[in-house]
Symmetry: C2
Subunit: 460 residues, 2 copies
């Protein structure tokens, strides 16, 4: 027993010094010679918001493919996938009407997937609720013919703002399904934003199995205007709300996942995936969501090569299409890789913004997680401290098998929802160093996974 322990400690130390040096080199390269920031500048400022099925999404596909072709991968290709095409149309318009002719304009945006209002807009009484239980309590008699206003704010006391988001987003995603059961004619939802400001935040919604004729238009209202509307309703619950939007869902169109690959020198049949999603919402330029994750992923193989690492396993960067309103790209990628019997031992996604990286979530059994935890100290000099079991992300999630490990980068989350899905998700909100530190953290983890593999790998 004593002898075993002795050997164990010796080998940990031997590993650590070489690994510590390589990780230091990866960080140096990312911070002094990284490409992520320059790439994101182009993606955000020269292409811009890239909603699935849009011309910009197509531009982003071909531009990222051409950039990946420049960094010496073994193979770069496009994986076809049919995606939804929803178009916002003209800027939305809305006001609160306290009496005929007495109106106050408010800031809204259509939710992704919503139908339009009638061409002349929709005006109705409006009723505020906090959740679906409120709908049931109020019942059809109080709701029918009205617009339902979901106004449950994000919980400010949660430290991880993604948890606050998780506690609210059902209002946006399923709000129309629930409200229409009670005869509501429209949905207005408080923006998922922890800050009080004037920017509406869009995001996906569903109509579930509601027939086309019974669907109701749905929009998000800025947090400031949600507060205003709520106050005005307290003074007079008979006020009316007007909104007009002419968004439209078209037929699915052809788009692509963008994939680049460097073949492993020893275990080419073991795949390591690193990725983000190339599509974004249309209001901003998608710098944090998820341009950041794309460019960080694009830089991983380049940084490994610059740092003198020859990957043993096959490393793939995958820029997934359509995470925002369908995750069709993720489903397609997983479907085809399972069909081909590709053995994905590890897949990591960066889709939580380009902020200072704090660590990683892992979807893993305990055995693999224990191995990963032995690497934690290697990250300490870089202030990466968060190694926890938890969800990886929507794009790599479908790749889970009982044997492999998935991961999601966890950046500092405090500012993320200030920008998320709104017109302020723009390149000026990106800090170069924070973005590059994220790329370095991901690359360092990929380096370790590539070098040591995973414990439970089993061929599919």
């Amino acid at each position: 027993m004593k002898k075993l322990l002795f050997i164990f400690f010796i080998s940990i130390n031997l590993f650590s010094q070489e690994d510590a040096n390589t990780i230091r080199t990866i960080y140096d390269n990312s911070l002094t010679n990284g490409k992520s920031y320059q790439w994101l500048d182009y993606l955000s400022n020269q292409i811009g918001g890239r909603l699935s099925g849009s011309l910009n999404a197509e531009k982003a596909v071909y531009w990222t493919k051409s950039e990946l072709e420049k960094i010496g991968l073994d193979k770069v290709w496009l994986q076809p996938v049919m995606v939804p095409k929803w178009v916002r149309g003209n800027p939305e318009f809305a006001y609160i009407e306290t009496a005929p002719g007495k109106t106050t304009n408010v800031n809204i945006c259509a939710l992704g997937g919503s139908i339009a209002t009638p061409a002349s807009g929709l005006k109705a009484n409006i009723i505020e609720v906090k959740d679906f239980d409120d709908l049931e309590r109020l019942g059809k008699s109080n709701i029918e013919g009205k617009i339902v206003f979901y106004n449950r704010p994000m919980d400010e006391t949660l430290i991880d703002t993604f948890r606050s988001y998780g506690g609210c987003v059902n209002q946006r995603y399923e709000g129309a399904v629930h409200a229409s059961k009670y005869g509501a004619v429209g949905v207005i939802v408080r923006s998922m934003n922890l800050v009080l400001d004037d920017l509406p935040h869009t995001g996906s919604m569903t109509y579930g199995d509601i027939p086309a004729d019974n669907r109701i238009p749905s929009a998000a209202i800025s947090t400031n205007d949600a507060e205003l509307l709520s106050t005005m309703l307290k003074l007079d619950n008979d006020i009316k709300f007007y909104f007009k939007q002419n968004c439209k869902q078209f037929k699915d169109v052809l788009s692509y996942n963008v994939i680049g690959e460097l073949t492993g020198s020893e275990f080419p049949d073991e795949y390591i995936v690193v990725g983000g999603h190339l599509d974004s919402w249309d209001l901003g330029d998608g710098s944090h969501d998820d341009g950041a994750g794309c460019v960080q992923s694009m830089d991983v193989i380049r940084l490994l090569k610059l740092s003198g690492v020859t990957p043993k396993r096959t490393i793939r960067v995958v820029l997934f299409m359509n995470e925002e309103n369908g995750t069709r790209g993720a489903k397609k990628y997983a479907e085809e890789s399972f069909a081909k019997g590709e053995n994905h031992i590890f897949a990591l996604e960066s889709d939580a913004g380009g902020f200072s990286p704090r660590g990683f979530y892992f979807e893993s059994d305990q055995k693999n997680f224990n191995q990963i935890l032995t690497w934690k100290d290697l990250f300490k000099p870089y202030l990466i401290h968060f190694f926890e079991l938890g969800g990886s992300g929507a794009d790599v999630g479908p790749l889970k098998t009982p044997n492999n490990v998935l991961s999601g980068l966890k950046p500092d989350s405090q500012r993320y929802f200030d920008h998320h899905h709104s017109s302020s998700d723009t390149f000026d909100a990106i800090n170069k160093r924070e973005l590059e530190l994220g790329a370095a953290a991901i690359t360092s983890l990929v380096y370790l996974i590539d070098k040591y593999g995973i414990v439970t790998k089993i061929k599919l």
Copy 2:
């Protein structure tokens, strides 16, 4: 031995649950009912930059005093201290001249404490150096009559940007002392900024014991213009640099530290200090440096009371005057408290920006540090992970004794030097949650120190 261990673990667990609950309450209060953000809005936007000796600094003194008087302390007072008064004067002006009449304007600002140029400005050849060794290598023959251009950039590869700053700031602080030894007529120093942009960053400088007649004017140049100037010098080392500034050092004037105190219920003679510095540079409004630290400190006692904590020890909030160009307030506070024999068991400073808090530095012996380390897990839910021995800060530093503990809040440092001492250190660069998380972290640590005291306390 076994029995001792058993008792130890039991007591740790008993402590932890009550403490965990109190800390949760402190965080809840800061995030939902904190005053730091509202205070900083006023300090930044209604008062603004507050250089020592200025009218704004005086306004800030009286306004913070009146705010502290509103939160139910036992005593609020002003501690007189004479401070330097340096005034920038008209906006500075500078250009690079490649040939008579062929000029390119560049962005500079006078360094704090610098003398003016002659009224018509100063034009001379300019010579680039990276450090003081370069001066020695070049010698008087190459430097005399020229302006010295210090252009050593901040090291991008260091993760803690304060270390990068530490590696560069001697160019700014002592640049004139060294350059004037070789007959230089002026100093231009690259701004301490990790980003390439157009903003010059000011900061303090010294003339050491150089007689008044031999002092040379000194200014900072933006990083973009430092790059430009360096490139132009490589093409033609005979180009000239012109700059004009009419800053002036006046006689010392009376100012104040602002102090508020809540008397301890059990150990009133043991003092716990928490503070920031109220003065700031004049180019921005000093939101990060150090309005943030002031308002966080101002909220500590209020948050403790809101959270049901009755401090056993005397807690003082101290807003130090003149950290930026003299630390006279810090010296005065320490001098008087030592003279009175006040037993400061702990003093914490927040002066590294209002960004997401990551942890604390401690100036402590090992015994006290070991006690503090037992609290580390209490901070884990709040993503506070950094507990390391290291320097506390310029304002609390003079309070060190062999027995007490000093501390400095360590926020995420990646964005700090984008704003530090420049016109972009403004309220819009503050995130409400990050500021409030910092206030909560400080308050939680003060709660623990107040509850458990320190191990080595000895009456002075």
